[in-house]
């Protein structure tokens, strides 16, 4: 069954497995930290972008996998964060960088709140999908005509920030320092989202995903919790965008189009939307495929398309769903316990 069930909360997964999982995670984080000394700058950049895509995909999957809502214009939230941070650094808003990140996340959440309040009763299904696409397209048009945001050319020459904590300064402008900051930020965001999904709030979201009517009849204010989920998701997507701007040092309209909106969807489906970790695994897999097919223009699109068809037809629960099935088979249980 899906990892998304309350298995962990009920201690159904054995202690050894949990410890093994935590160990793997720790090793991964250490490797990510050491990566600047292990790989060339090109690959390091790809890893950095993968971390950002992973956070972005996690934000989308909080909606889809855990609350049962689908946003097809999630790039809009990402762009809010990216453009705000880009502008804040480039035009020097006199805000500490951590505050810039916080404001970016808050902006994303506020836009989600506004959409939620306007569409409170219809925050489901095709209506939300179309609404998010429309708003994102509108945003792209507005940015395209804003000279301060670089119009069609994008906002370039974004400087990397210096974090001033009063007692000491962390200079992220040199070498791989920003990358290391990105690793820390990603770990913190992933931890926060893990908490959301596995907390009382996450259980409420899942109940709404399973059956909104039944949820109402256990006293859950469905509309309110859908908006809360949408706000956390929008805020996190904006945060992912905010983290991306200093890494790429340019923000362009490519990050606001519908193709950018499909990226977190593809990553979540590939990795497995029923699992919390699925979007991260999917992002990593996608980046790997892209990296190894980069020399063949057009091939990566075909590969990506082909893999998606296979995933949807053969393993609708993605890589992690497939691995779970194999694991159960290896344990000789044939199916669920």
């Amino acid at each position: 069954m899906s990892e998304a069930s309350l298995a962990a909360a009920e201690g159904r997964r054995s202690g050894t497995e949990t410890r093994l999982g935590l160990l793997c995670l720790a090793v991964l984080v250490v490797l990510l930290f050491l990566a600047p000394g292990l790989v060339n700058p090109g690959i390091l950049f790809v890893i950095g972008m993968t971390l950002i895509q992973a956070v972005f995909a996690l934000s989308w999957n909080l909606l889809f996998g855990f609350t049962g809502l689908a946003s097809f214009g999630h790039a809009g939230f990402f762009a809010i964060g990216a453009y705000f941070t880009g502008a804040a650094l480039r035009y020097d808003f006199h805000l500490p960088f951590l505050a810039v990140l916080a404001v970016a996340g808050l902006l994303g959440a506020l836009v989600a709140l506004a959409i939620g309040v306007v569409a409170l009763k219809r925050l489901t299904g095709i209506f939300l999908a179309v609404l998010t696409v429309a708003l994102t397209e509108a945003m792209a048009k507005i940015i395209g005509f804003s000279p301060a945001l670089g119009e069609q050319d994008g906002l370039g020459n974004i400087p990397r920030p210096v974090i001033d904590l009063g007692l000491f300064r962390i200079d992220l402008t040199h070498g791989d320092d920003y990358y290391r900051f990105l690793v820390v930020a990603t770990v913190l965001i992933v931890a926060a989202l893990w908490w959301v999904v596995h907390s009382r709030l996450g259980r409420t979201f899942r109940a709404i995903r399973e059956d909104a009517d039944r949820a109402r009849f256990v006293g859950i204010d469905v509309a309110r919790y859908r908006v809360i989920s949408f706000m956390i998701s929008g805020g996190t997507a904006a945060l992912a965008g905010a983290l991306s701007a200093p890494l790429t040092r340019i923000v362009t309209l490519d990050q606001v189009n519908w193709l950018a909106s499909t990226q977190p969807i593809l990553n979540s489906l590939l990795g497995g939307f029923t699992s919390f970790w699925g979007p991260i695994v999917g992002s990593a897999a996608f980046s790997t495929i892209n990296y190894f097919t980069r020399g063949f223009p057009g091939l990566s699109e075909i590969m990506v398309g082909g893999i998606l068809v296979v995933v949807i037809l053969v393993a609708p629960t993605g890589i992690l769903g497939l691995l779970g099935k194999l694991r159960r088979r290896a344990l000789g249980k044939g199916g669920r316990k």
């Binding site: 069930s5 298995a7 596995h198 399973e210 039944r214 109402r216 009849f217 006293g219 469905v222």
Partner: protein, 260 residues
Amino acid sequence: MTGTPLLTATDLRVSYGAFEVIKGVSLSVDAGDALAIIGPNGAGKSTLFKALTGEISCRSGEVRFLGKDVTALPAHLRTAEGMGRTFQVSRVFLELTALANVIVALESRQRCKKRGQGRWWRAAPEPALVEEAGHLLSQLGIAHLRHEVAATISHGDRKRLELALALALDPLILMLDEPTAGMAPADRMHIVDLILSIRAEKGVAVIMTEHDMDVIFSISERVMVLNYGEVIAAGTVDEVRNSQTVREVYLGKDMYHAEG
């Protein structure tokens, strides 16, 4: 017992478009009462249920719960006030385990009652709630299924789980929409026993719709007969059983006269 009835509906009217489905129905249920609403298919039983629980809004009329006007209150707030409900085709949170289903309901109750959650930063459910959920499951005879995912448990057990969800919020009234629909006769009687024991233990009032007369007669003291959105008879089980109009509706007019 105070003078105020638990639940009253006054001249409820519900329309789907131009078509009036409920044409001025009134009813009253006291604490601990059991009322069965019967009637042929399409009589408006389920619609009346939805109007009482707040799933659909009424065109006119008034619903009062504990003396308070709840006509404009959405379903989740009526639930918080103490109206529990089950569905004709049982509805539970399919991908969650039986235990998790009940935990979600208990956590919602905590929220409804504005009871703070101790140690909110802990992601796992509170041990006290897990224990209470387990207790509720064993009360309904499905403790052995606690770690089963709801989608994999049988029809009858799912009905029990749904009852557990409704009971988790300490309801004052249980609204049961065909509690034994689609069940084997033996299973039916289990559910009846269960409902009777819940009533005996917690003094919960019950409103139910049902087709099976044995089930109705074992649970309810009072019966209301609905036909084409109107109440055509109401009273004790015996009164309704002997009513001429009810016989006509159920058996057909001609048949009734032929029998004679």
